[in-house]
Amino acid sequence: MNVLIRGRFAVVATVLSGNSAAAWGFRLSRVQCYPYYPITPSTSCSEQISRWVNDGAMDTVTINAESEHSAASQIIAAGKSVRAGTATSSKGLLYMIEVLENAAGASIPCGLFIGNRATGAPINIWGDHSDAYAMRDSGVIQLFAADAQEALDNVIQGYRIAEDLSVRLPFAVNLRGFTGTHAYEGVEIPEPADVDGYLFPFVPLYPLFATEKPVTYGAMLSGNFYRRHKRNQMAAISNVPEIVLKAGREFGERFGRPYGLFEWVGDEKAQLVIALMGESASAGEAVTHHLQGKKGIPGVALLKLRLFSPFPAREIARALAKAGTKALVVFEEGLHHGAVFPPLAQRIATAIHLHLGADAPKVASVIGGLGGSEVRQQHFQLMFNLADNLAEGRPYRTEPYWLDIEEDPIFAESEKEVAPALWKKWGEVWKRQARKEQYFRPLPKDTEEIRIYSRAGQGAITSAVGFTGAGIQCGHQLLTVPAFGSERRGAIITTDTLVNERGKRKIRSFNRAWDVVILYDDTILSSPAHNVLEGLKEGGVLLVNTSRLRSAKIREILGASESRVRVFTVPASEVAQGLGLSHLNMAMLGALHRVYEKIPFEKALTYYEKHVPRPREASLEAIQQGFQQTADRQAASAKKERRFVVSNDFLDWRPQDHSLDLWPSALEEIQLG
């Protein structure tokens, strides 16, 4: 949801990652059986839950399953008696699909949280929707969350929907891997009592552990029984949209955040609409708000789908008709594997064809964001431009477009830009397409951004999350997204933090224009793969942890002038060492406050007193010293300085030459004898 307004209950937002928010969802839903099996990127959700269980904060039976297949089997078995749930991703989900059929078939309302991640070969650990698409026919209800708050809310609403007597089906809440699961942002955690009032305790319909009425699940049914059973199952899933709306409305009344089947962002009357699901929409929202009402831009809107299975075809069709949409571009992070369109586009196309017939808007499909590829703002500018071409009736492709493929761009002026084979196929379309400049005006930068280059294991994420928490406590909206992959300790990783002061509208997309760049290690300066000045605003700040390089020397290494970058240094390693801390991240946190004043240091300290890692006093001291010892003057060198500055003429001194040439003499050279 994009509106950040206080719930009726004064609930203070806490900093949570997407995974932790989902874990809170399970906790608040009082799930009673939580088997788990680790798989990136959803692991930390299960880790959080097992910490709570072992600390006695959550009354749940956890099972250390030996595979996702067993974990799913366990929630389906337990789901017959108690509320059960688990979290998984990618390949794990694929293992589960084999047994999830039984859950839907046996109408077990267990819950899943999926950290969406690419599936299949080649192996890729970053986010896209291919795992969610793989399970779409397993009979499980599928909800998509766009950020951590929605992940938490959707898990709670998931159980409410799934356990509804007219449904009784398993559900899954999807959140994009890393950009969603590992992004840290402010999340309001509802009070358990409130949630209990919204989600009643689990009531098994046909409990196994019933002394008087034993039951049999999973009987073998022949055709006659089987088709009737399946028909009932389909009937149950078709009830879901209505239940979702009811649950979403009640959630809004109770917690101040209403949910529906989808979210319409932008103009009421929108000729050009982009439909998509999940976290990547954050960049789209920024572009939509930027384009609304601009000259030469017909109404634009973003259709953020929440309920994917069952697909609310009628409601979507009606919404598009109401908005008078002429062109619809469906952006999705999954593949069509030979189908007409990838799943979302195919469902939308079918829906609007059936429900709107002739005056259905034109539909084009765009694939992007695969395997963690970045979904940037200019992608949406491109797609709105494409929609504009569709609306004008220009020819367009009847197969998916691709983002960020050099030889297959959306718009191409000449043959040279594209692969010859493609020109042969789509040359005509390209020729008739028009790239309109009004879509590509640069967006305003109303957020400030900080990038940290550090080495894995240096604790950069902990410090960025601490900073985010402090910022939120001061009333701002912050988002921290670490970018890491299968790096081992020591490799260079980045952690980006976005600060939105005005907090009017939640912004979750980066402009990649850094106000502050922080180096946790001065050797990163000389790393060929990293240009630390790239993206740094003119006159931006470069904060370096070093005790041997002076500011002037760093500028010299970077070949940057004083006006290009203001360089600050802090001997963080020495500070940490002095305090016996194994990490220098706390000192760097203090230093960040020195160079970036937007988050006042004193107010932040009150937050840090409660949230710094152990040992607390040493960490707080490190923050203080980091703050004080940041300087842009010469870095004091601790090494034993040479006392006498050796001047050149000292070095050039040589014994005096006394040869005869220097003075007149009457000497004559003669040889005797």
Binding site: Q32, C33, P35, D59, T60, V61, I63, N64, A65, E66, S67, H69, S70, A71, S73, Q74, I75, I76, A77, A78, G79, K80, S81, V82, A84, E98, V99, N102, L208, F209, A210, T211, P214, V215, T216, Y217, G218, A219, M220, L221, S222, F225
Partner: protein, 349 residues
């Protein structure tokens, strides 16, 4: 690893050092009051598995607990839960083929959760997992062994008819050496099943089971004692039941008893049980039956068509006999302690 301890006593024994008092011993011929499966299952005539299931459920009834069965796909499931048929007063949760162990684990967790929530008392119920030899030795082994390794309290019964019978007699992990099956045919070059079975009791003990036993429906007294013990003993217990399958073994449907007796006499099936004392990490092995005189394996093979090819080849029969002797050599200490050496004098206590 664990220390091996031999019980001098040979024969079924209701006593166990893990239990405060012995279990109910129905004796040889007493009337068995309880009922097992409701009538109307669709098993083949002469099917040993159904009688095995029946006796297990009767034994569990003796313990006075309600049974919740997590069963895996296989003959036992298919023939007992067709459309609306069920197991009588036993709740059945058939989940899938490879995850009997996992389903069992899920139900045990549910029981714990409910007990923790005060909805019911834990010892009113007993969780039992049942699967065939394919669902136990092959596709379900991972779920089973990790269930045992987690030390969850319940029983796992394997109805071993030594092949995938439900899908038309394909070779499984439990198929004996030399057996003809559709996937291990007795060809001209490769004569029948080349593998020797991997023996579930050894795996279960290695995985940390508290109690392991082998049984056969013909010795119903011994079987029911063992099932009761398995129910009473804390921790994961595994019972493997010899299930005659005329269809798969290509034998007459009325030789159920003769085949089982010959199996015992030729020692190709050995009745024993093993109880683990976790503190001292020792396992007490008790031999429950010694044949009066050792009969050559040929007698056993002759009754079943699946071995017909093998009986022509003396070296294969010798190989089968070797397998039996090597397994039987494990009991040498018990036999010597009881003065039994070879086939001269055997007694069945």
């Amino acid at each position: 690893m664990y220390n091996v301890l031999y019980n001098r006593h040979i024969g079924p024994s209701p006593h166990s050092f893990l239990l405060p008092e012995p279990v109910v011993d129905v004796g040889d011929y007493g009337a068995i009051l309880t009922t097992g499966l409701t009538s109307g299952h669709q098993g083949c005539t002469g099917c040993g598995m159904v009688s095995g299931t029946n006796q297990v459920l009767r034994a569990l009834k003796l313990t006075g607990k309600h049974v919740v069965a997590s069963i895996g796909t296989g003959c036992n499931e298919v023939i007992t839960t067709q459309n609306t048929s069920c197991w009588g007063d036993v709740s059945v949760d058939h989940n899938n083929f490879p995850n009997t162990g996992a389903t069992l684990s899920g139900n045990i967790a549910a029981l714990n959760a409910l007990a923790r929530a005060g909805a019911l008392s834990k010892d009113a119920f007993v969780n039992v997992g049942m699967a065939g030899d394919g669902g136990t030795y092959d596709i379900g082994l991972q779920a089973l062994l990790t269930w045992i390794a987690r030390g969850e309290d319940g029983i796992y019964v394997c109805l071993n008819n030594q092949a995938y019978m439900n899908t038309g007699i394909q070779g499984s992990g439990a198929t004996p050496y030399g057996t003809h099956t559709t996937t291990t045919p007795f060809g001209k070059v490769i004569r029948g099943n080349q593998r020797t079975p991997q023996y579930l009791p050894d795996l279960a003990l290695a995985a940390g089971a508290s109690y392991v036993a082998t049984a056969c429906p013909v010795r119903h007294r011994d079987l029911m004692i063992k099932v009761q013990k398995a129910a009473a003993i804390e921790g994961p217990c595994v019972v493997e039941i010899y299930s005659v399958c005329p269809e798969g073994w290509k034998s007459e449907t009325d030789v159920f008893h003769e085949i089982t007796e010959l199996a015992l006499q030729t020692r190709s099936w050995v009745l024993f049980e093993a109880e683990r004392d976790r503190k001292s990490n020792t396992v007490l092995f008790t031999l429950n039956h010694v044949p009066q005189e050792y009969v050559g394996v040929m007698e056993y093979l002759k009754l079943q068509e699946r071995f017909s090819g093998m009986t022509e080849f003396s070296e294969m029969v010798e190989r089968a006999q070797e397998i039996i002797e090597s397994r039987w050599s494990f009991w040498k200490p018990v036999l010597e302690a009881n003065g039994i050496n070879g086939g001269d004098r055997a007694h069945d206590l």
